[in-house]
Every structure is written in C-alpha cells, then in structure tokens.
C-alpha cells in the first residue's frame, strides 16, 4: 500500500487509498502505520492519526481538515521541534506491599478506630487494615515517582505520568522533549538507572507526540 501527500494550505495530509470500507487491524498493518508516522517525524512535525481513520473520499477529508484548520495549526506550532519519549519503571511492588503489611501489623495494632468482636466490626477492621495498607502503598509509589521524575525536570517541556498501572509497573511517563534536549534526557536516564537500585527502567523514543495532541478529536 503506498502513501502520498495531499496538500491543504500550509498542511500536508499523508494518506493512502484503500479498497472497501475498512481495513482489518492486524499487527503488521498497525506497525506499518506507525512506521509511516516515524518516517515523517524525521523531517516534519507530525500529528499522528489513529489507525483506521477513514474518509469516503478526498473531498470529505479536506472539508474535515478545513473545518479544524486553526486547531491543527495551533497543535503543530506547539509541537514543532519536539518529540515524545516514554519512560517505564518497574519496582518490586509485591515485596514493598508485604513490608508495609508487616509494619501495619507490628506497629499499629491499636490504630484501627473501631474495636469490638461483632461480625460487622470485624469486617470493617479488616477493610480498614486493607485501606491503610493500600494508602501507604500508594503514598510510597507517589514518593518514588517524585524522585524519579525529578531526574527529567530540566529537560522536558511537559509530561504525563501514570502511577501503578499494575502493582509492579510503578510509572509510565510520557515526556515531550525539544530535539536539542534529547541528549540531556538520555543522560538523565543513565543517571537514573545508576541510582535507582532495585528498580528496572526503560526509555523509549523518540516517537511522534501521541500523548500531547490537544485536538485529536478531529479525525478520530
């Protein structure tokens, strides 16, 4: 399948023609779609569209783009010269939770605000203990994320942080970085890896700015 540029005023819209009404989403096709975005990113600022963003014909596409031209230009101006990097950090979530549970049992025996042996109170005591453990676990995660994120403060334009998508996936971060700051980001990542003992870190990128487009609703 070949792609080509459809110019519209100061924009280029990169498209391909398909037979039929839909393209079945396979891993191969989605990756091909991604490769086109990355190839374009090497030379231009890209606003990537979701796979299977389809229009019946060129005219309808141009009408849609024309209707949101100002917003698209705003996004492009904002994202010019910047690319996205992803950071993921694994931590030993299970071990940390177990340690918190141990501390909760030994130190805080009297900490539950209800005493008594009725079934209702015992249920609430159990629930409260779990709540306290969850709260401490979440607070520890927040503390560690603040420490980790601190490595990148000086070299990112903006960021999105996701805490604890799983018990062991402490952090999924998305950083918008100016091209001239990318080496600084990579150096910050190297410092993080050398200091964050017990954690596993992954840096990916550069990517098109998937997580920083504000007008993504235009084309699906």
């Amino acid at each position: 399948m070949s792609v080509y540029n459809l110019p519209y005023r100061a924009l280029g819209i990169v498209v391909s023609d398909i037979a039929g009404e839909k393209v079945r989403a396979t891993e191969k096709r989605v990756l091909e779609h991604e490769r086109v975005n990355e190839r374009l990113m090497e030379s231009w600022t890209v606003l990537p569209c979701r796979f299977n963003t389809l229009f019946k014909d060129k005219e309808r596409l141009l009408v849609a783009v024309g209707g949101r031209y100002a917003e698209l230009q705003t996004d492009l101006n904002r994202l010019q010269g910047k690319r996205e990097y992803g950071l993921k950090v694994l931590w030993p979530g299970k071990a940390i939770r177990e340690k918190i549970e141990e501390n909760c049992t030994e130190k805080n025996k009297g900490a539950c605000p209800v005493s008594g042996n009725s079934s209702g109170k015992r249920f609430m005591q159990r629930l409260y203990r779990r709540y306290r453990i969850d709260k401490a676990f979440s607070a520890e995660a927040a503390r560690q994320i603040e420490y980790i994120d601190g490595f990148f403060t000086d070299c990112v334009v903006t960021k999105k942080l996701e805490k604890l998508r799983t018990e062991n996936l402490l952090l999924s971060a998305y950083y918008l970085v100016k091209k001239e700051k990318e080496e600084e980001l990579k150096a910050a990542f190297a410092r993080l890896r050398s200091r964050a003992k017990g954690f596993k870190c992954l840096l990916s990128g550069p990517w098109p700015p998937y997580n920083f487009i504000q007008n993504a609703g235009l084309l699906g």
Partner: protein, 111 residues
C-alpha cells in the same frame, strides 16, 4: 532509524505490559448466550464499582473519625450482606472476580 528502546530488562517489561489491556479493541460477541452473560457482567461490574466506592467512602470517614461505633457496625453488616449477594450472583452467571471490569480504552480499566 534511531534505536528506540533502552533497557536491560526487556523481558520483564514485556511480561508486565501483557497484564495491561491492549489498545486495539476486542471483538464484540453477539451470540444470544453471550449477550445475556455480557449484560450480567456489565450490571455486576457497575454494582461492584458502587460497592467499592461505598467501602472507600466508609474507610475515609473512619479515618476522619466521623462515624459512630453504631454506624460502623451497621455498615459492616451491610457490606457483609452485599458481598454475599455478589458471590451468589457471580456463581449464577458463571463470572469470576477478574471478569468484573470494563475496558475504557485509552483511560484504562474501570477498576
């Protein structure tokens, strides 16, 4: 093309990301039996969400000291009954705990 990934634990990350739902939507199964089970799953997921929210709210109030002992006892009894009823309903519809969730796409799972 530049090298895109830097890590010394690729397999661990891959295993962990398998636990996170994918972006591509799964197919909808429109078989009649599945529709009934799917509806039950939706309803029970919403009940489970409300139950967890109520429990969380109760815990916050306990933390803040705004519940009397009597209220704590009554809430505990209510939550026990709710939990038992949920277990019964899950058995009736053949649903497991981990199935009571809704994938909100880019927003992640509901619970």
């Amino acid at each position: 093309m530049e090298n895109k990934i830097e890590t010394d634990a690729l397999e661990q990350f891959s295993a962990e990301m398998d636990k996170v739902k994918g972006v591509l939507p799964s197919r909808i199964n429109a078989e009649p039996k599945s529709v009934e089970k799917g509806l039950a799953k939706l309803v029970l997921t919403l009940i489970e969400l409300i139950r967890k929210l109520l429990e969380k709210q109760a815990m916050r109030r306990m933390d803040g000291g705004t519940l009397s002992e009597e209220e704590i006892e009554r809430m505990g009894e209510t939550f026990i009954k709710l939990e038992k009823k949920m277990e019964e309903l899950k058995k009736v519809f053949g649903l497991k705990d981990e199935e009571l969730n809704i994938d909100l796409g880019p927003l992640g799972d509901l619970m």
